[in-house]
């Protein structure tokens, strides 16, 4: 193991034994009607560590509730304020209770009970002022790559994503796994034609069955929708088939054995390389939508406990992510130069020969360690804290239950 992978830094100790790289105070709205109050509380708090997430629908959805709970339990979150209107399905009191069980300071209220917008904002701000003081005393603990979970997805891909961006991530993921950490990749709908390749890398028979089942489900989904995960922009950029795009996407998983498949909001049971399945399960309302945006994909990776999320983007997406800092990687040197304020990492150096793949993976590891140590990623510094939580139908089990 090289020296970069031995780096350590101070994290935040959590009751469940995990360690966080940020100490966020999460303000959660439980219905669109409560969003304005929650957003005002976040904006007026004056702290970059106070972040907003929420669910828009009044009717709740198990998938969305699971995802909100996964963020409450996330190691980067130190405290939770749940803001409800007062007549919705999702229950802020129960969300606050889960935070308390995790020994995280928590509060909740209904805007209707507080007497309206202004009084609710005042109450929230008062609680946040006190709680931010309390968070200064969170126990710090040494952590390293073996404690880290890193998730990767691509968005706004071009021909460089499969030649450089994803290739460098794959090489780094090999190192992360060898260092005892956890690496998670998603987008099974971008592994079309590659079931043999994925199953050949399964760590054991159970992992093999999970990978085959998840692949078959994704292929069914694409056939059903008569649409594969490839767009006019991809074709214009030189990709000719979904198989070609798929291999360029799967290459970000590196070369280590795949331990199995995890579903959204379910943390990996042990370290190593994992596939995250974000495809909806078959349901009476049909399949629903798989990944409607890059932000939804990043949220899925955050929901399984990723401390940091990688977004590989050849064309140059600008987004960030709530809870887990986003590192944006481009394999396109022109995109890097043009969008230097947004792009964190230039993997294009491996294409022009100025850096070897090993050197580039080292540089990415150093950047991940810096961000884990507290250095803001570019999207963090710019205030990008997007989230996207939607209605979806997916259960937690990977393989169908035998009945």
């Amino acid at each position: 193991m090289n020296d970069i992978m031995k780096r350590t830094w101070l994290g935040y100790a959590r009751k469940n034994g995990k360690k966080g790289i940020r100490n966020r105070l999460l303000v959660i709205y439980t219905v669109k009607c409560a969003e304005h109050v929650a957003r005002q509380i976040v904006e007026r708090s004056g702290s970059d560590d106070v972040e907003l997430v929420g669910f828009d629908g009044c009717t709740d959805n198990q998938y969305a509730v699971n995802q909100i709970i996964s963020l409450i339990r996330h190691p980067n979150v130190g405290a939770v304020l749940a803001v409800g209107l007062g007549c919705e399905y999702m229950q802020p009191e129960w969300l606050a209770k889960i935070a308390v069980e995790e020994e995280k300071p928590a509060d909740w209220f209904f805007i209707q009970n507080e007497g309206g917008t202004q009084k609710a904002i005042d109450r929230g701000l008062k609680w946040i002022g006190r709680t931010l003081e309390e968070l200064k005393h969170t126990t710090r603990v040494e952590m390293g790559f073996s404690d880290l979970v890193i998730g990767a997805e691509c968005g706004g891909s071009d021909y460089t994503s499969g030649l450089a961006g994803n290739v460098v991530v794959g090489r780094f993921f090999d190192r992360l796994v060898d260092a005892g950490g956890s690496a998670v990749f998603e987008e099974i709908v971008e592994a079309i034609g590659l079931d043999w390749f994925l199953t050949s890398r399964a760590a054991d028979e159970k992992a093999r069955a999970e990978l085959q089942h998840t692949y078959d489900k994704a292929l069914d989904y694409c056939r059903h929708a008569r649409q594969y995960s490839i767009s006019p922009g991809n074709f214009a950029g030189g990709l000719s088939t979904i198989e070609e795009k798929s291999m360029g996407a799967v290459v970000k998983s590196g070369t280590r054995p795949i331990q199995g498949v995890i579903k959204v909001s379910c943390p990996p049971p042990h370290p190593g390389l994992w596939l995250l399945d974000s495809t909806p399960d078959p349901y009476f309302m049909d399949f629903g939508i798989t990944n409607p945006s890059d932000n939804e994909g990043l949220m899925d990776l955050t929901s399984i406990g990723a401390h940091i999320v990688f977004l590989v983007t050849g064309r140059g997406n600008v987004v960030g992510n709530a809870v887990a800092p986003c590192i944006k990687i481009t394999g396109n040197a022109d995109t890097y130069a043009r969008m230097i304020d947004d792009m964190d990492f230039n993997a294009g150096t491996t294409l022009d020969g100025s850096m070897s793949l090993a050197e580039s993976a080292d540089a990415l590891a150093a950047m991940a360690a810096d961000v884990a140590s507290g250095t803001p990623s570019k999207s963090e510094a710019l205030g990008h804290k997007e989230f996207h939580i939607l209605y979806k139908y997916q259960h937690k089990e990977v393989l169908p239950c035998e009945s």
């Binding site: 030649l163 034609g193 292929l219 008569r226 594969y228 006019p232 030189g238 088939t241």
Partner: protein
């Protein structure tokens, strides 16, 4: 031809390379894991698109990343542009009906 042009070969077994800039007919230097240092382009190839590294007969699989990424729908001469006009997916029906340059769908009606 004085302009230096390059294409990237990912795996030795590949039958196509990716153009790192727009290619014109003439010599193309091959970077990455190529068994040969160069190839002669016989057509224009847009940036990011594929160039055939050898003659590929119709119905043969196109190899990139050392795996089949689709199959030839016509005989493809070495050094020529490889895209939707001469190859198709083994899975995705719809992509065979897209505009070869822009990728725009031609099977959706705008009326």
């Amino acid at each position: 031809m004085t302009k230096k042009q390059t294409a990237f070969v990912i795996e030795r077994a590949d039958t196509v390379a990716t153009a790192l800039e727009a290619l014109e007919p003439g010599e193309v230097q091959l970077l990455g894991d190529s068994p040969v240092p160069s190839i002669t382009a016989v057509t224009e190839v847009p940036k990011g698109h594929k160039i055939a590294l050898r003659d590929i007969p119709a119905e043969e699989n196109i190899i990139k990343y050392a795996i089949p990424i689709g199959r030839a729908t016509a005989d493809i001469p070495a050094g020529s542009w490889v895209h939707l006009h001469v190859m198709r997916s083994n899975y995705d029906e719809r992509s065979s009906h897209l505009d070869v340059r822009t990728g725009a769908p031609k099977d959706t009606k705008y009326e």
